[in-house]
Assembly symmetry: C2
């Protein structure tokens, strides 16, 4: 199903900006708003960052995309939804990669859930990516 169809089936109207945002995000997974804005501009030669933010929020609310916020970074968006995957984040260069969950079912088991009704477990694995491991060890610094 293409983006046009997806928007319609969610009852959202189809606009050039919206399609451009979704395409941009699809082509640049794990992007922040400003990067998506740039990519949208490349496609449309016009567009406001406000519209980008507004649509990103609308898409998140409709479950079309996901948002997460690693410390030291702006909000990060991704189109991969509906499965239960997590993220590897490089402390050195900020690279973000998807990583699968152990189960196909969401890993919602906390040993000590304090009576919370848990619906999602969001995991960030912090570490050093392969590329940065091969650089100077001395240059590795935390954010």
């Amino acid at each position: 199903m293409d983006f046009q169809q997806q928007l319609k089936s969610l009852g959202m109207s189809v606009t050039p900006v919206r399609l451009a945002v979704l395409e941009a995000l699809n082509e640049n997974p794990h992007s922040e708003a400003s990067r998506i804005f740039q990519a949208v501009q490349d496609k449309l030669h016009t567009a406001s960052i406000q519209a980008v933010y507004k649509n990103l929020n609308a898409f998140v609310e409709h479950g079309l995309i996901k948002e997460f916020r690693p410390k030291g970074m702006s909000a990060i968006y991704e189109t991969r939804v509906g499965d239960n995957h997590h993220h590897l984040v490089c402390r050195s260069c900020g690279l973000i990669e998807d990583t699968d969950c152990i189960d196909t079912a969401p890993c919602l088991t906390s040993t000590d859930p304090k009576d919370f009704k848990i619906d999602e477990a969001e995991i960030i694995f912090w570490g050093i990516c392969p590329t940065c491991q091969n650089k100077h060890h001395s240059e590795i610094g935390e954010t």
Copy 2:
């Protein structure tokens, strides 16, 4: 070991603002900078938010406190470090609670680590806290 000792052993000089920040955070776990600033003001009747930010960052760098950033919130700080615990966050009211890890050792096992050298797994369990579960179901909204 009290805060004064901890600062000294890290080679950091001891100041009223620093002690107040650490005490404030100890008394208000899972606080954001502005809340800590308020608590510091209550103790010192003077102090700048800039000093609070600067010290929070310095403490994080020295491993004296930890920082994390649930989506929709400002940076959250905590004094509980050195163990491997995670967080329960209420989607409705924003309440944050600690929750223990399954193992005493950090749960660093990703099924698909993509050659990252992982040193930390940070988990946020999203859900609804007991108090909010007992409120109107209709009022529950995501951020």
